[in-house]
Structures are given as C-alpha cells and as structure tokens.
C-alpha cells in the first residue's frame, strides 16, 4: 500500500479515537467551545487529507460532518443530541471506509447519501436561541436512520479496527529523552565492562559480554533513530515569518531553502529553532535593505535569504545568507571601543573578520542602538551562547554592500559518537571518528616525517600533508625538533576546509563516547568540541578537527600585511603548489589546478632523446624540461616532476623539491624582468616566485599550444584583478584558446568599437567603474557583440546575483577559481553558438 495512505490511516485512526471521547464530552457540556473547536479541527483535517489523497467517499462524509460541526462551533445552531448522533454515525462510517481501505487499498463501494442527508438536516435545525435540549423528540428520528444502513457494515468496521496496522504511535518527548539518557549510561557501563574484561583472558563473561555489547550498540542506534528529524522541522515556520516580516517592513524577501532533509537529533533541533528564527528575523529586519535602497545600490529589488543545511563529518552545517547590506565593520569597531569591550589598540589590531565577531559579544549593543548603527547584533550574543551550549559554533562572513552569511556548525547529535582515543604528551584525547580519514604509522618502518623548515609534513600518495603536532599545539610539549625522525601516529583529519595530519604519540581504541558539552568557561577553547567520560571513568577532551586546523593556521587564508599595500587582493584562496627548482632558494608557486600530477622518478630512468631529456611515461615518451640550470642527477637519486597534460600530450617540468600545497590568498606583484615568471608573491609568509606555465610549456614543446589545425577560438577576458588575469590567461591559452585580456569593461568596449570579434567573453562581476552587470547590459544593448556568449566569473555566487546576471544576458555563471568549470563553461557556450550558426 501507498506509504502516504498507510500513514493517513494510522494518523486518522488515532484522531478518531480522540474524536470519540471528545464527542462524548461534547454531549455532556454542549457549550464548551474548546471541545467543539477541537472536534472541528480533527474532522477538518481528516477531510483535508482524504481530499488530498483522492478518497472521495470519505471526503463527502467528513465534509458533511465538518459543516455541521462548523455551525456548532460558531454558535449558529445549538448542539443537539440528534446532531451529535449524526456526527457519531459519520465517524463510524469513516471508520468503516478506512477499514475497507486498509484491507483492499481502495475505498469500499457504498452509498452514504442517507447519512449525509441526516447531517445536513441537523445543520438546518432551529437557530441557537431556541435550542433547548428537546433531545427526546428529535433523537429517535435521527438515531433510527444511520443505524439502518451501516449496521451490517459496522461489524466489519469493528473487525477492521483491530486488524488495521498501527504504523506509528506517539511517544512523549520526555520518555524519548529518558530512553536516550539510559542508553547513554548503558553505553558507558558497557565500555567500563569491556575495559575490565580486556585485562582478563579466558573469562566465562567474554561471550555474554560480547552479546551485551552488540545489543547495547543496536539499542543505542535504535534510540538515536527515534530522535532524528529533518532539519526542515526547525524551518517550518520561517517562510511565514519571512513573509510577514517582509509585509511589515515593506521589503520583498525571498526565502530559499536547501538541504532541509538533513537529519539531526531532535534535541539539537529544538535548541536551534529559536536561534535560527532570531537570525532569520535579524537578516530580514536589519540585513536586507528596502527595495529603494537596493535599487539605488544596483541590486535587484527583492532581497534573498538563503538557508541551507548539510552534513559535514559529524556536524551539521547550517548557513544563513542574505544579500543585504553587510555589516558596517568600521562602526562595529567604534562601538566596541565605546562599549568598553576592547581597547582601541586591540580593536585596531583585529582584522575585519575578528572585529565582526563583536556582534556576538554580550553587551555589544542594545536593540535600538544597533539597529541604527550596524544593522545587526540584536541579541546575537544570545544566539551564540545558545548554539555554543550545544557544542556548536557560529561564524560569520560579511562583505559590505553584498550581504552577510552566518554559519552555524552543530553536532549531529549531542549524544553518542564514535571516538578515536589518541595520546599526546601523556594526555589522552578523543578524535571524532567521523573526521578521521585514515591512520598512518610514522617511524619504525612506517611513513616518515619530512621537514620544511620547522614545519613537519608527510607525503601521502603524492600529496603533501601538513602535520599538526598535537602536544605542541596544545602547549603540552615542546615541538619535535626540525629534521628529527619523529615516531608516532598521524591521524589524517578532515577539517572544515583542509585536510591535515594530526601527529600524536599513540593511538588507543575507538570507543563509543557520550559527548557532553564543555563548561561555559572552557567553551572558548577552539581545540575542543566537548568532553566525555571513558570506560575507565577518566574524563577526556574531544578534539575539534576544524578548530585544530584553525589554531594551526591551516585552511583559512592567512592574513597578509602585504595584501593591503598592492590592492590586488583575491577574496578566496586558491591552491598553490610550492616547490624549489634550478638550485634557487626562493620557492616557486604554481596554481595546483594546472598540474596533472606530481611524480618522483628514479634518475636513471631519464633518457636522452633528440638532445633533450625525456622519460618513458605511461607508454609514451614524455619530454622533460628543466626549470633553470640542470644536470642529470646522480644514479639512484630521485628527480621530482610536475607533469602537465593536455589530451595525450604531456610534459614534465623537472624541479628540485616539492615543498607544500597551500591554500592561500594571493597577492601578485607582477614583474616582467624574468622570463618564465609572472612575478612574486608572499606565500605562507615568505616570498615566492609565481611560475608562468605557458612560457615553460611553449619552451618544452613549441607545438603545445598550436595543436589545433583550425583557428583557435578567441576569448576575451575582462577582469580587473591582475593576478587573476595572469592566472586565467595561461590556463586558457594552454587549453587552446587565443586570449585577449582587459583590465576593465571600458577597454573591452574600445576593442568592440575597433571591430574585434571573439567567440566568447569571460567577465568578472565586481569591478570598479562599470561592473559586470553594467558591462553585459551594454553589450546586449547594441553593437557587434550582442550575440557573443558572455560567461560571468565571480568569486561569490548568490542566487539573486545569478538570476540578475542571467536576466541581463550572461550566458553562464561560474566560480572564478575553478579552472575546470571555467573551461567547461567556455567550451559549452562556444559549441552552442557554433551549433546554432
């Protein structure tokens, strides 16, 4: 049977049972408006549902009963015993029909017209004022009829009642919570028992203990399941709230939801409901501007609040983004000083992201003051403390004029997780198993740690994995000496953005741990997401991989003072490979996306072909190109290669040493003095040269870019950021495009005036002067580029921006730093145009 129908049956059966009692109550106290209203609601919802499911016979009966009840409820006519009888008969009929559905899956055939007529007759009884309990007179007439027909069916209805499968029962939440607590305690006791048993071989308890253990796990899982609910349950009221707020505030607001089916523990759900509501209200009220202001700022009139949820490791990430005005950081700074939350010097030393976090501080603002000042902050400290209470975190990103995104990370469940117990500096810690990608033994025959200065790294399947020394990070032990052959284990962890290795001294078992939030005074410690009691009774802290990554400076783009100076700051970091080559000490950086693979060759596998070094690589002879002066390395040593690939053509760039892969906000200081390099940049706090790939590729294989017989498609790149131009032009060139680049739309328009034709245009959105929106509007308005496909490149895609851009005439929208997407989009739009032509 259809799930929907069986659910409906279960639900309706439950409602009917209540109805019976309620109707009985009604007869006893006919004036009781509350009972009446309750009955009306129940019948109404039955009617609504069966209308929805196409159960027409049921609907007709429920509808007639509902009409009568509606009159009763509104006091239009007085409740009469005959009426009640008719309603009861209607309920019996409903039950009978439902029994039929439960048996056969369809409504049984039958005629209810007598019953309906009776209900209608009751509706037409005397008005309320004259209604006296003349039950004795009316009752026999009314009672006689319904009994006649459904009488024989009634037996079936009774029978159906008992056989109807009960799909769900309602259990009060405290009972569920109590069950959860008990299951948690049971897990603890089980762990304790296992701990004891571990020390004893050959005990008769072993087998039953094992069973107990398994049953405990199953029980725990089962109890957990009873508590999971889709996160949309916490969102259910938000669309209405947003609509009302919009009307109230004179704003047009779209609420976009995604990921609502992500499940999480209902306890967590309950606890985030209020903060979420508060945050949505804040966004609508203070984040979004009125249509006038938005239009004046060149935005679409209606604001968008997007709400999304996803699971990331053992956590649920909920993002609430608005495309409103963003936070006014300068005012937050001055207010923080005003309010005495920090000294002027301290505030000055903070970057914007840190300063923005003041809105989460208690005492930052009162409602009135902040509504006027920063547009945010009303009770955000309450939001934060509520979320932190359940072991979650709140972060925010804000771009003035573009909006604010609040990111909530909350644990999937407050209850039980699987944790890997590790040891560092003689202290034990638990790592959520969900975050552990793999475990690697280091030293004594295992993998080895390599050192880049005093930063340890590990090579893992051709990738460099930065290592974080747990003991040192937590201030428990001195860091291992650079270059030392450290021993221990590396737990490869997935942080929020980056993968890294947690270097620990030892690894114990995996244990089911009952997560308990840390005390408020420890909540600011980002290293921990909670604490727990182990099987042996000891308390240990649960590590938060994302927090550890942040503490170690991984993942998030580090602040560069140089960034402020040059002005070509990229908002998002891109992945860069750092290496050394040509015997130079200065590291060289290249966007990782351009490189197909990293290889380490045995030096004696390098051959010479046509006076040039080459190597047999995947069944082909791959030319090798040294970066700078190069001598064949001694036999038995290793030669590192960056392999570039295009179709089945490949080229190896020989380098001395691979250093690191870094996600970095990059500031390029362009220079043309040195062939083969685009310029210099500060990467990970040190100066590095940025490689010009196209130069080297051409040098290694003059035909690299000239491979196509037909004319290469011409692409125009309009982008104000020098760095990005330098990055994308070689990438496009190496993909076989002929590329022209402009720093701003006005230059591009000059090209148009000059009659230059392109197969496609890539345009940035955020540019000084004329922005991407203005540019596309101009292109589509007139001129020879009216039909040229234009792909918008942007570092930030909000749905509203995207919609606006597409409406203005952009052919496609892609994220800036994803070279594959950019290439894919280009190929797509060009081929579409060619087909059309």
């Amino acid at each position: 049977m259809d799930d929907l129908i069986s659910e409906f049956l279960a639900e309706t059966n439950e409602a009917l049972a209540e109805l019976d009692t309620a109707l009985v109550d009604l007869e006893r106290a006919s004036e009781d408006a509350e009972i009446l209203a309750r009955i009306f609601r129940m019948v109404h919802s039955v009617k609504g549902t069966c209308g929805f499911l196409g159960l027409s016979r049921l609907e007709a009966v429920a509808h007639a009963a509902e009409s009568l009840l509606g009159l009763y409820r509104d006091g239009d006519i007085a409740v009469s015993p005959s009426g009640v009888t008719a309603v009861l008969a209607a309920i019996d009929t409903i039950r009978m029909i439902m029994a039929g559905i439960a048996e056969t899956g369809v409504e049984p055939v039958g005629d209810d017209s007598a019953l309906v007529a009776q209900l209608n007759a009751a509706s037409e009884e005397q008005p309320a004022a004259e209604a006296e309990p003349v039950a004795a007179i009316v009752a026999p007439v009314a009672a006689a009829k319904p009994v006649e027909k459904p009488a024989e069916e009634k037996a079936a209805a009774q029978h159906g009642d008992s056989s109807m499968p009960v799909q769900a029962i309602r259990v009060s939440l405290p009972v569920l919570d109590e069950l959860m607590t008990l299951a948690s305690e049971l897990v603890l006791v089980r762990n304790q028992l296992l701990q004891v048993a571990r020390g004893q071989t050959d005990t008769p308890f072993a087998a039953p203990l094992q069973r107990l253990s398994r049953i405990t796990s199953d029980l725990q899982e089962g109890v957990m399941k009873t508590r999971m609910q889709p996160v949309s349950a916490a969102w259910a009221k938000l669309p209405r709230l947003v609509r009302d707020l919009g009307t109230e505030l004179g704003k047009r607001i779209d609420l976009v939801q995604s990921g609502g089916d992500t499940e999480l523990d209902r306890q967590v759900l309950e606890l985030i409901k209020d903060p979420l509501t508060h945050m949505v209200r804040n966004s609508a009220d203070h984040g979004l501007e009125t249509p006038d202001i938005r239009r004046a700022a060149g935005k679409v009139a209606h604001g968008t609040i997007s709400l999304s949820a996803r699971q990331e490791g053992g956590r649920i990430v909920i993002e609430l983004a608005d495309d409103g005005r963003g936070l006014n950081i300068a005012r937050i700074r001055s207010r923080a000083i005003e309010r005495g939350l920090a000294t002027e010097a301290a505030v000055a030393a903070m970057d914007d992201a840190e300063a923005a976090r003041f809105i989460f501080r208690p005492g930052f603002s009162t409602a009135a003051a902040v509504t006027a000042v920063s547009g945010r902050g009303v009770g955000m400290d309450v939001v934060r403390s509520n979320i932190e209470r359940i072991g979650g975190t709140v972060d925010l990103q804000t771009v003035e004029g573009q909006g604010t995104t609040l990111i909530i990370r909350i644990p999937l469940t407050l209850a039980i997780i699987s944790g890997l117990v590790v040891q560092a500096a003689n202290e034990r810690f638990a790592v959520p198993q969900a975050a552990v990608v793999e475990l690697v033994r280091v030293g004594s025959g295992g993998a080895s740690v390599e050192w880049l200065d005093d930063a340890p790294v590990m090579r893992l399947r051709g990738q460099l994995l930065p290592l974080v020394q747990l003991g040192a990070l937590l201030g428990l032990a001195a860091p291992h000496e650079s270059g030392s052959a450290a021993q221990g284990f590396v737990a490869v962890l997935q942080g929020d953005t980056a993968r890294f290795g947690l270097f620990v001294d030892g690894v114990f078992d995996t244990e089911e741990i009952v997560v308990k939030p840390v005390a408020p005074i420890l909540r600011d410690l980002q290293a921990f997401s909670g604490n727990t009691i182990l099987g042996d009774g000891g308390v240990i802290m649960i590590l938060d991989p994302a927090g550890l990554a942040r503490m170690a400076g991984l993942g998030s783009a580090r602040k560069e003072t140089a960034a402020a100076v040059t002005g070509t700051v990229e908002e998002t970091g891109s992945q860069l490979l750092l290496f050394r080559a040509g015997g130079q000490a200065t590291p060289i950086a290249v966007p990782l996306g351009l490189i197909a693979r990293l290889e380490a060759l045995r030096s004696d596998s390098i051959e010479t072909a046509g006076n040039r070094p080459a190597v047999q690589y995947r069944g082909q002879l791959m030319p090798l190109l040294p970066l700078g002066p190069w001598t064949q390395p001694p036999a038995g040593s290793t030669q590192h290669l960056l392999v570039f690939q295009d179709g089945n053509r490949s080229l190896g760039l020989m380098v001395d040493e691979i250093l690191d892969v870094i996600e970095e906000r990059l500031v390029l200081r362009p220079s043309t003095d040195r062939a083969g390099f685009l310029g210099a940049a500060v990467i990970a706090g040190r100066a590095a040269d940025v490689l010009d790939c196209s130069y080297w590729l051409r040098l290694g294989d003059p035909h690299w870019f000239g491979k196509t017989e037909q004319a290469a498609p011409r692409v125009l790149v309009v982008e104000d950021s020098g760095f990005f131009r330098q990055l994308v032009v070689p990438a496009l060139t190496s993909a076989g495009y002929e590329v022209a680049a402009c720093g701003e739309p006005s230059e591009a328009l000059k090209l148009r005036a000059g009659g230059a034709m392109f197969d496609a245009i890539l345009s940035d959105i955020e540019m000084p002067g004329m922005d991407g929106f203005g540019f596309i509007a101009e292109l589509r308005r007139e001129g020879i580029w009216q039909k040229t496909p234009v792909v918008a490149l942007t570092s930030r895609i909000s749905p509203a921006d995207k919609a606006r851009g597409l409406a203005l005439g952009f052919t496609d929208y892609v994220g800036k730093f994803d070279s594959e997407r950019v290439l894919g989009a280009l190929a797509r739009v060009i081929s579409t145009v060619k087909e059309a032509a």
């Binding site: 305690e185 603890l188 501080r361 208690p362 202290e427 937590l474 201030g475 428990l476 308990k516 840390v518 005390a519 408020p520 005074i521 420890l522 909540r523 600011d524 410690l525 980002q526 290293a527 921990f528 604490n531 727990t532 009691i533 009774g537 000891g538 308390v539 240990i540 802290m541 503490m551």
Partner: protein, 177 residues
C-alpha cells in the same frame, strides 16, 4: 531564612551526598557557611551553594584552559570543571601530590568543583561579626571575597562563588591567542 534540615547537621567532613537545594541568601539572617582552608587561610562558602564535597578525585587537565581551571573531573557521570582556589585567590600553587578537596557548587546551571586544601566544619554566622572586605586586601582576594567575618579563632573570608567562577570572556580569549 531557615536552612534545610539536612544542612544543619552537615558534618565537618560531610560524606558524599546531596547537600540540598540552592537557597537565596539573606544578608542579616544567621547563615550557614562551609569553611575550608586555602593555603592556610580560612575561607567560607555559603552552604546553600554547595552541592557536594569530594576528596581526591582524579582531575584531567584541560590544555589551554584559562589559568585557574585545574581540569575536569567525573562526578558520578557528570563532568565537572575544577577551579583551583589558590590560583583564583592569587596564592602559590599547591605542592604536587598534596591532598585536595573538591567543593562542588552550582553556577548558572553548571557544576563546578572548587579545589581547596581542606574542608572544615559548617559554621552558623550571624550578621554581627560580618564586615566588608577591607580595601587593603590584595586584588585577587578583594575581587572574590564578599565579606570578612570576625570569629574567635580568627578571620573567616567569605568567598563569592559567582565571582570566583566568572571567568572573563577576555581571559579565555587571550589564552588562546
């Protein structure tokens, strides 16, 4: 105000057990104070705040915790944060291995253990011997003392548990930078 009956008979070194419900303190009524020793000083904590007194629990360190937080301990399945009174009061650290007593108090719905060197008897204090903490006390003491009581055997410094446990957001924030 009358204290709960169980408290009136609370022994000098109480056995583990529920110490009663929290009660509002009224300044001029006779009040019960649990006395404890911190580096030789006699201190007092209002009995209604005390949930439990434990001895020699194993305390797990919490790295990077704000100074004054000695660690966390397992109180019958609940995790309790231990706060070192010596540190909070600006006194020298206890010698390693020295016996410590845990006085468990409730603060904003969370349990905390205050670590003292020893726990003495419960005293009834009338308002008469009460005085405000003198201004000459060191900052750490003045910050956390709510009153000084003149007793026959010496001065008793009454501690304000709320203030002892009010770790500034600043202190914790700084410690992680």
């Amino acid at each position: 105000m009358s204290a709960p009956a169980t408290l009136a008979t609370l022994p000098a070194k109480p056995a583990r057990g529920d110490a009663g419900k929290p009660q509002r303190e009224a300044a001029d009524e006779p009040r019960l104070v649990l006395t404890l020793l911190v580096a030789g000083r006699l201190c007092g904590i209002p009995v209604p705040r005390v949930r439990d007194v434990l001895r020699g629990e194993q305390i797990a360190r919490v790295p990077l915790a704000p100074p004054g937080v000695a660690g966390v301990l397992n109180l019958r399945g609940r995790i309790v944060t231990a706060v070192d009174l010596r540190n909070r009061l600006g006194l020298p650290e206890a010698e390693p291995g020295a016996p410590r007593m845990s006085v468990v108090v409730e603060h904003e719905n969370e349990l905390y253990s205050l670590l003292a060197d020893g726990v003495r008897e419960v005293l009834t204090l009338t308002g008469e011997e009460r005085e405000d903490a003198p201004a000459t006390l060191s900052d750490a003491w003045r910050e956390h003392a709510s009153a000084v009581h003149r007793l026959q055997e010496g001065l008793l410094i009454e501690l304000d548990t709320d203030r002892l446990l009010a770790f500034g957001a600043r202190a914790t924030a700084d410690s992680r930078r």
